[in-house]
């Protein structure tokens, strides 16, 4: 009896305010999609960090013959075989070093051609222009300082580079995008909340006859407010559902199909669909609670009980 009564009231209320309801649903959907997107972005960054920090090493670039004039560290010209040998032995003696890989200029050239082979710059390069290097894998990436202080000023060493700096810039960019998404979500949320408050106000006004009578005959305030709150929560859940579809669809089209980033960027380990599903419960719960709460607060102002 009660349930049926409340449900029919909700239906009437939502249809009466159809345009406003649609506006609420869309704005809730967008803000929740941004929220879910930001959560996925954070997840993406941590996945990538784990993956890259594992791969990324310290690179010790050695002088090649072209550097003699241009680089103050390489005034003696190209690195000699003896210097290389000494560097390698010393590297292997150091505590945090796990593995040392020597990459000669031909290998560096091949790598570069693999990655950027189509660009005009790559086509004009020759193997002897590429830099020879040692790739050093550390058991703890934080111990970069040990390597850098030991080898920066050695003859034949052009520079020591912590490759984490490079990926960290990428992560900073990704984090920045997450922050932007969160800020946008905040704005959309404010818009959604204001729409909900306004919807409730209009709804309360158009139903003031009913609510007035309910009040007079002694309906409890909970019972009077419930249809309004359920209305907002229902619109919120529809919005959350739409946001879920957007997130799932976004993942589908951007990563697995359509844009197909998974194939285009094989080096990046993307978040999976299971990560998307892990985010959805948060999206739905927020979609349910946030509009309901907003409606409840709006009613205190616009519905005398």
């Amino acid at each position: 009896m009660r349930a049926q009564f409340v449900l029919s009231e909700i239906g009437v209320g939502l249809r009466r305010n159809l345009t406003m309801t649609i506006a609420v649903i869309v704005s809730v959907a967008l803000s929740l999609a941004l929220f879910g997107g930001a959560l996925l972005g954070l997840k993406q960054v941590s996945v990538m960090k784990g993956y890259w920090y594992d791969k990324v090493n310290v690179a010790i670039y050695l002088c090649n013959k072209g550097d003699a004039e241009s680089d103050p560290n390489c005034t003696e010209g190209a690195v000699t075989a003896a210097q290389k040998k000494a560097i390698e032995t010393d590297l292997k003696k150091l505590e945090p070093v796990e593995q040392v890989i020597h990459e000669d200029s031909q290998e560096a050239f091949n790598h570069y051609q693999d990655q950027y082979g189509n660009s005009p710059l790559a086509q004009s390069l020759t193997p002897d222009q590429m830099q020879e290097s040692f790739r050093v894998k550390l058991d703890d990436p934080e111990k970069f300082k040990v390597i850098s202080s030991a080898f920066t000023d050695r003859p034949g060493v052009q520079s020591v580079q912590d490759q984490r700096d490079t990926v960290d810039k990428l992560f900073e960019l990704l984090n920045g995008m997450n922050m932007a998404a969160l800020a946008l979500m905040g704005l959309m949320l404010v818009v959604a909340l204001m729409l909900i408050v306004n919807t409730v106000r209009v709804s309360a006004f158009s139903r003031r006859r009913e609510t007035g009578i309910m009040r007079l005959v002694g309906a409890s305030s909970f019972y009077i407010q419930l249809p309004f709150i359920m209305e907002a929560a229902f619109a919120g859940v529809l919005g959350a559902f739409l946001a879920s579809v957007l997130l799932g669809g976004g993942h589908y089209f951007m990563i697995d199909h359509g844009l197909n980033l998974a194939d285009k960027m094989p080096l990046v380990n993307f978040v999976g669909l299971n990560d998307v599903f892990a985010v959805l419960p948060f999206v739905i719960v927020i979609g349910l609670l946030m509009p309901g709460l907003a409606a409840f607060l709006a009613l205190r102002k616009y519905l005398k009980v």
């Binding site: 009896m1 006859r209 007035g212 009578i213 009040r215 007079l216 005959v217 002694g218 009077i224």
Partner: protein, 229 residues
């Protein structure tokens, strides 16, 4: 049933109190007319009984409860024991007569069986038997007010508050409504009725309470309207 102890009411942002130092008592089963010109404090008096407003000073007791001390969430339970009727009927135009009456029971969570049994009974009582499925718009003013009375009475309240129930009706129809209210009063329900209708007050010869500028100026059993307006 109702007791006012030195009750004053001043609305926010107004200097002149709407009700000043009113003390009176209304016993169970009484029929009381509340008279006075517009702005004399009749509406405030009724709103205090319904706990739509709280007294600024003094105590209002209704059904043995000090309304100043009743917390907000308990107010609905008090209102369930009161019935209210207004000049403008306040029916829901998109619901039938029967649904309008049933609405009062639905929203306080009465079971469907009770509602199905009670609504026709009370419609019979107010003389609208068989008009359950009509829309309020199809009824005359007097009939609409009967629907409103049925709605107010369907939960068998101890106290019926009527704010100018005949204000929109012609004299003949008004007499019918008064007979109905009198019959309800005879079942033991206390009736407090604010009115401007001199003929009715003079004919009924019930207790008359007169307010003027927020003060109680007359409280007379078997009284008459008593002043020209």
């Amino acid at each position: 049933m109702i007791r006012f102890d030195n009750v004053s009411k001043t609305y926010p942002k107004q200097n002149r109190p709407a009700l000043r130092d009113v003390s009176l008592e209304i016993e169970r089963g009484e029929f009381v007319f509340l008279v006075g010109s517009s702005g004399s404090g009749k509406s405030t008096f009724l709103r205090l009984i319904l706990r739509e407003e709280r007294a600024s000073q003094g105590q209002v007791h209704v059904l043995g409860k000090d309304l100043g001390k009743v917390s907000n969430w308990k107010v609905p339970h008090i209102r369930r024991q009161l019935g209210t009727v207004f000049q403008d009927f306040r029916l829901l135009p998109n619901k039938t007569v029967g649904e309008n009456v049933a609405f009062a029971l639905e929203v306080i969570g009465k079971p469907r069986g009770t509602i199905r049994k009670t609504v026709p009974e009370v419609l019979d009582l107010v003389g609208l038997g068989g008009k359950e499925d009509r829309m309020p718009g199809e009824l005359s003013g007097g009939e609409q007010q009967r629907v409103a009375i049925a709605r107010a009475f369907v939960n068998r309240p101890m106290l019926l508050i009527a704010d100018e129930p005949t204000g929109n009706l012609d004299p003949q129809t008004s007499v019918g409504i008064m007979k109905l209210l009198d019959r309800i009063n005879r079942t033991g329900t206390t009736v407090v009725m604010a009115t401007h209708d001199q003929n009715i007050v003079d004919q009924m010869r019930k207790r008359v309470i007169e307010l003027e500028g927020g003060r109680l100026v007359r409280d007379q059993s078997r009284g008459v309207y008593g002043y020209q307006h």
